[in-house]
Symmetry: C2
Subunit: 230 residues, 2 copies
C-alpha cells in the first residue's frame, strides 16, 4: 500500500544489505488428518519484526507457521506447518543470512504416530504418546557462525530465570522475554510487555508497547550487534 511505502521511507536504512530470517506463528503437529496440537501464537510479533526489518532496508525471509495475517510487503514468506518443516526450512537458509530472529512458538512435543485416518471416538479415555521435537533454537546456537541469533521466551512464571537459562544453553546473542497471561502482553494482542536479556547479564525491561515499537527496539539492538561484527 501507499501508506506502507510512505512509512517505509521514514525509516533509516541501517539494515541495508543485511539478510534477516524471522520465524513466526505457531506450529501444528498432526494427531490424524483432522486433529493437531498447536498453541496460541498469532504470529503478530514476528510479522511486525519482518515488516520493520524490511522498512529498514534488510532482505527479509519470514518462515511462518499457519496464521491469519497478510504477508508484509517486500518480505519473502515461506509457509510451513510442523516443527520438522520449520526446522528444515530454517537450516537450509542459515548459511545465507546475517541474523536469525526466532519468534515462532514451536511445539516441544509431537504425537509419536500420525493416524492415517480420522480417529473414531470409542473409549472413555485415550492416551496420546508424544515425542520431543528438535529444539530449533538450540540447534541454531550450535550451528551459527557469523549470525546474530535472537530468541524469544514466552513464560507464565519465572521469566528472568528461564530467560537467563535459555540464553546460555542455546548460545544466543539476546533473548526477548515476555510474561504471557497479562492481557496487554503476549498472544493475539497488539501490544507486548517485554524485557531484553543480554549475554553479559544486562537486562532492559520495557513498559507495554505496540508490537511494532517492540520490533524497532529489537532491531536497534540487532543492528548494533551486526555493526560490531563488521
Amino acid at each position: 500500500t501507499i501508506v506502507d511505502r510512505v512509512k517505509a521511507a521514514l525509516y533509516p536504512k541501517d539494515l541495508s544489505g543485511k539478510k534477516i530470517m524471522v520465524s513466526a506463528g505457531p506450529t501444528r503437529e498432526a494427531i490424524d488428518p483432522v486433529r493437531y496440537i498447536s498453541n496460541r501464537s498469532s504470529g503478530k510479533m514476528g510479522y511486525e519484526i519482518a515488516r520493520a526489518a524490511e522498512y529498514r532496508g534488510a532482505e527479509v525471509t519470514l518462515v511462518s507457521g499457519p496464521v491469519s495475517l497478510a504477508s508484509p510487503l517486500g518480505v519473502d514468506r515461506l509457509s510451513v506447518t510442523s516443527v520438522g518443516e520449520m526446522a528444515e526450512t530454517i537450516f537450509s537458509r542459515l548459511d545465507d543470512v546475517d541474523a536469525v530472529i526466532k519468534v515462532a512458538a514451536v511445539a516441544d512435543y509431537r504425537p509419536r504416530t500420525r493416524a492415517e485416518h480420522k480417529i473414531k471416538k470409542k473409549s472413555d479415555d485415550m492416551t496420546l504418546e508424544l515425542d520431543k521435537n528438535i529444539d530449533i533454537l538450540k540447534e541454531l546456537g550450535k550451528r551459527k557462525t557469523r549470525q546474530v541469533l535472537v530468541g524469544f521466551a514466552a513464560e507464565t512464571q519465572s521469566l528472568a530465570e528461564n530467560a537467563r537459562k535459555k540464553i546460555e544453553a542455546k548460545n544466543l546473542d539476546m533473548i526477548v522475554g515476555n510474561l504471557v497471561g497479562d492481557p496487554a502482553s503476549g498472544f493475539g494482542t497488539d501490544t507486548n510487555i517485554v524485557t531484553f536479556f543480554h549475554p553479559d547479564g544486562r537486562k532492559e525491561p520495557f513498559e507495554s508497547m505496540g508490537k511494532d515499537v517492540v520490533a524497532h527496539e529489537l532491531l536497534n539492538r540487532v543492528s548494533g550487534l551486526l555493526k560490531e561484527r563488521l
Copy 2:
C-alpha cells in the same frame, strides 16, 4: 455492505419467523495456558449457512469456535473456545430455536488436566491423558422436541456407513457427509463435495459446489422439514 443487502433481497424469505442456531468452527481444548488440541475446521461452511439463513429471513444465532472470519451481517454470533463452553451455550438456547445445524468440528477428547503453568520440556517423551468430551450432537438428539436437527460428518473413509450410523445413533433429521482429504472438499476450501443422508434411507450426492450453494441446498431441506411440522 450494500452488496450483501442486495444479495439478501434476492432470496425468498422462506425462513422468516424461524429461529435457527448454527455451530461452526473448531474447538480448542487447553493442555496448558499456551498449548491446545484443535482441528483444521476453518468455520467457512457454518458461516455460509448462517449467512444464507439470515438472507432467507431467519433469526440466526451462530455459536462459533475460534476462527478468522468476519461475522455475517445480522447474525448473532456467540464466541466460544472449548467443547464445554460450546455445549453450555447451545443447550441454554435450545428451547428457543426451531432448528439446530451443527457444523462445528468438536473435539472428541480433552486433556484430563489443564496445567496451570506452561509445561517445560524435559524428558524425551511425554504422555497426554485424554478424557472423552460430551457428544453435543447426540445430547441434542435426546433433548430435541420440535427442533429440526442437522449434523455434519467429516470422514476420511467409509462416509456412507459412518453417516448412516450417526443419523440413527444421534436421532438426526438429516446429516451432511463430506469426505475430507479431497482438495475440493472440506477444510479451509471455498468448495465442498457433500452427500445429504436422510433418516428414511434416501441419499442425495452432489458434485463439487461452492459452500454458499451447499448452504442454500441444505436450507431448502430444513425449510421443507420446518413446514411439515407446522
